[in-house]
């Protein structure tokens, strides 16, 4: 081909381009890292079905997601591992903001000890992380594990050093079961620990636990499943020691009382068979979004994610939402239309 033909072809392409892509709707979102593997799968699959809708998601962290969506208004939807509190909702520049649970996750205790098969109650875990239970043969641990011969070794505590939804869920649960923990440490994405070492990310915590004899730590269920790390069952309100799994985490969402705005922690839910350290991850959307086409696109995507999209959850290690909850959410999603 000659240079002229090239130029002509290029010109033609340039002239056609706006016609071909005029219908493309580009929607942007930002939020937590926990949902990212599932979200990117969703956005990809959805784009295959609807080539004109392009959803971009930045996993910058829940705090950043809330800020960019509600205060800075630089993205069309947000995403968070912990619900926005009343103060954050008050400061928001766009109102109202809807919280819609899209997936479920769990947080599991892991440990490194010569004795395997241990199980824990929430009170024991709270006292360990408060620095009150310091030895593995403490009476509290023995009470959770009758008949197990525990070694007289010191407990080395590992927690997350970076702010994260995992820490939020963990301390939220411990605060619910131990008033002392609630008073001394409180609930947040990064808290001040009286004892222990900080690891960066799930891999940092798991690495420290694996290497330190007598260590205990906590990681996301999905991380433990993917890396085949053994984790311990935790006692729920019904008195059962429940092993975390996609089913028991889903059960927590099914038995928990969920208010109209979905801003609820589902840790320590009532009822049998529920794993007590479970959490939602929410998408933040608003019916007040000025761009109608984008709002419609978000609506359509959410309907798809809550129905067909849920089938991708299990494969990627996320617990799917209970059917009843999905039906309820679909009614609320209609407000975005």
């Amino acid at each position: 081909m000659t240079s002229r033909t090239f130029i002509r072809a290029g010109l033609a392409a340039l002239l056609m381009a706006p016609l071909a892509f005029a219908q493309t709707i580009s929607v942007s979102g930002a939020g937590g890292t926990f949902i990212y593997p599932l979200a990117s799968k969703w956005f990809h699959e959805y784009n295959v079905l609807h080539p004109n809708i392009q959803i971009n998601y930045q996993s910058i962290g829940s705090g950043g997601g809330i800020r960019q969506f509600s205060v800075e208004r630089t993205v069309d939807f947000g995403e968070t591992d912990g619900p926005m509190n009343d103060q954050q909702l008050g400061e928001a520049k766009i109102k109202p903001i809807m919280h819609l649970p899209l997936a479920l996750g769990g947080v599991v205790p892991i440990y490194n000890l010569s004795v395997h098969g241990l199980r824990f109650s929430g009170e024991t875990l709270a006292n360990i992380y408060l620095g009150k239970v310091v030895m593995w043969d403490d009476a509290a641990i023995a009470k959770d594990n009758p008949g197990v011969k525990l070694p007289a070794e010191p407990i080395n505590i590992v927690h997350r050093a970076d702010g994260s939804g995992t820490t939020y869920t963990w301390v939220d649960f411990l605060s619910k079961v131990s008033p002392d923990f609630h008073k001394k440490i409180g609930v947040g994405t990064s808290v001040t620990w009286p004892v222990g070492l900080g690891g960066k990310g799930n891999e940092g915590v798991a690495g420290l636990v694996r290497q330190t004899p007598g260590a205990i730590g906590y990681v996301e269920l999905i991380y433990a499943l993917q890396n085949k790390i053994a984790y311990a069952p935790v006692k729920n309100t019904a008195g059962e020691y429940v092993n975390a799994s996609l089913e028991t985490v889903s059960a927590a969402a099914a038995t928990a009382q969920i208010p109209a705005d979905y801003r609820v922690s589902i840790t320590n839910p009532p009822g049998k068979g529920a794993y007590p350290i479970s959490t939602f991850t929410w998408i933040l959307a608003s019916p007040a979004l000025p761009d109608q086409t984008k709002k419609k696109a978000i609506h359509d995507f959410l309907v798809w994610a809550l129905t067909k999209g849920q089938s991708y959850s299990k494969d990627l290690g996320y617990a799917p939402l209970p059917k009843k909850l999905v039906d309820r959410e679909l009614k609320d999603v209609a407000k975005l239309q």
Partner: protein, 371 residues
């Protein structure tokens, strides 16, 4: 890419704008190979012999324009670099204002860091940065300088070339990889060392810097990792500096009957100490701001402890760890103020080092007399 000699009109790309058929055949083919001279052909001979220097640049006026453009361009680059620093400082000062307003300078320098209760004191992090940097420099500086001496003065040329190459490769390893290596290799080694101290019959664990339970992660592991990171910088610069020592200086020393040690200690090192000082500064700059690798091995516990075995936290680490999930504007501002503190610390250290250099330089910078 060759031009098809016969072209069917139908095969041409149909464009909406179809100009009259251009005489394409008349055009020379636009192909790269046509312009590049044959590789086998002899290099092109200069068209005219070299002119004497005075007439090499005949057009003075065009030279002036080029000179002006060149000056403006270099000036603009220099201004942009200076501007970058100003922008960074302005950003950090502005970002820190809410934190300073909320709890004042005193509270920023308190040891209490408790984001849930909105307490943001920087002292523990400042200590962690200072302590790990000190450990790192105390290891890297002697190691780097002595290795450089060995490379330049003692080892055979071929061996020193291999070692230099290895060290330069070390500088190219991303710090996050070094951090992972730290978690999985260095930390267990440090832990076994700590255990041996802990169990030693001499009661070494009662010495304050060796106290505490052996965890592996902590100041010592972080300091060692920082030493590894600073080493290539210190070593490379020191080696270059030593190579700058004039041969006459060396030969004079040996001619006077100096042994190798005497020559190095009395002549070569004193001759190049300013450059070595600069190498140290470069290493320190690397060490102060290092984030990822340190975060992975320091334990991330905001506390002030003298023990090498205790876990700690550094300014850079806490910013990296908490920025993405910072719960409020105030928390973000507090983290930015930590960045400002880090910047101020490095500026102060740099200034102090320069002052020291000037002060020491006023004395005799000449090599000390051979004893």
């Amino acid at each position: 890419m060759d031009l098809p000699t016969t072209e069917k009109p139908g095969s041409r790309s149909p464009g909406p704008v179809a100009p009259p058929k251009a005489p394409t055949h008349a055009m020379p083919p636009l192909s790269l190979s046509a312009r590049v001279p044959d590789a086998d052909a002899p290099p092109p001979v200069p068209e005219e012999p070299r002119r004497p220097l005075a007439t090499r640049f005949p057009k003075r006026s065009s030279g002036r324009t080029a000179d002006l453009i060149f000056r403006l361009a270099t000036g603009a680059c220099a201004a942009a670099v200076a501007g970058l620093i100003v922008v960074a400082i302005v950003f950090m000062v502005r970002g820190s204002i809410p934190a300073f307003k909320d709890h004042g300078l005193g509270a920023i320098l308190s040891p209490e860091w408790d984001p849930t209760n909105q307490k943001y004191g920087a002292l523990t992090f400042l200590f962690g940065t200072a302590y790990t940097s000190l450990i790192g420099m105390m290891i890297a500086l002697p190691l780097g300088v002595l290795t450089a001496v060995a490379l330049v003065e003692i080892l055979p040329h071929s061996l020193s070339k291999v070692i230099s190459l290895a060290v330069e490769l070390l500088a190219a390893i991303p710090s996050v990889l070094l951090g992972l290596w730290g978690i999985f290799t260095l930390v267990p080694l440090v832990r076994s060392f700590e255990v041996s101290i802990y169990k030693s019959p001499l009661g070494l664990k009662n010495i304050p810097i060796f106290s505490g339970s052996p965890m592996g992660v902590g100041f010592l592991a972080a300091g060692l990792l920082l030493a590894i990171m600073a080493l290539p910088f210190i070593l490379s610069v020191t080696r270059e500096v030593l190579l700058q020592v004039p041969v006459s200086q060396r030969e004079a020393a040996y001619a006077l009957g100096a042994t190798r040690w005497q020559a190095i200690y009395n002549y070569i090192l004193p001759y190049s100490w300013k450059g070595i000082f600069g190498a140290g500064l470069l290493g320190l700059a690397r060490v102060l701001g290092e984030t990822m690798a340190v975060t992975m091995v320091i334990g991330n516990t905001p506390q002030i402890k003298a023990s090498l075995f205790a876990s700690g936290y550094t300014l850079a680490s806490v910013i990296a760890n908490e920025f993405t999930e910072a719960p409020s504007i105030l928390a973000i501002s507090a983290l930015i103020s930590l960045g400002l503190i880090l910047l101020v610390v490095s500026i102060l250290l740099n200034a102090a080092a320069r002052l020291m250099l000037i002060y020491l330089g006023r004395g005799s910078s000449s090599p000390r007399e051979a004893k």
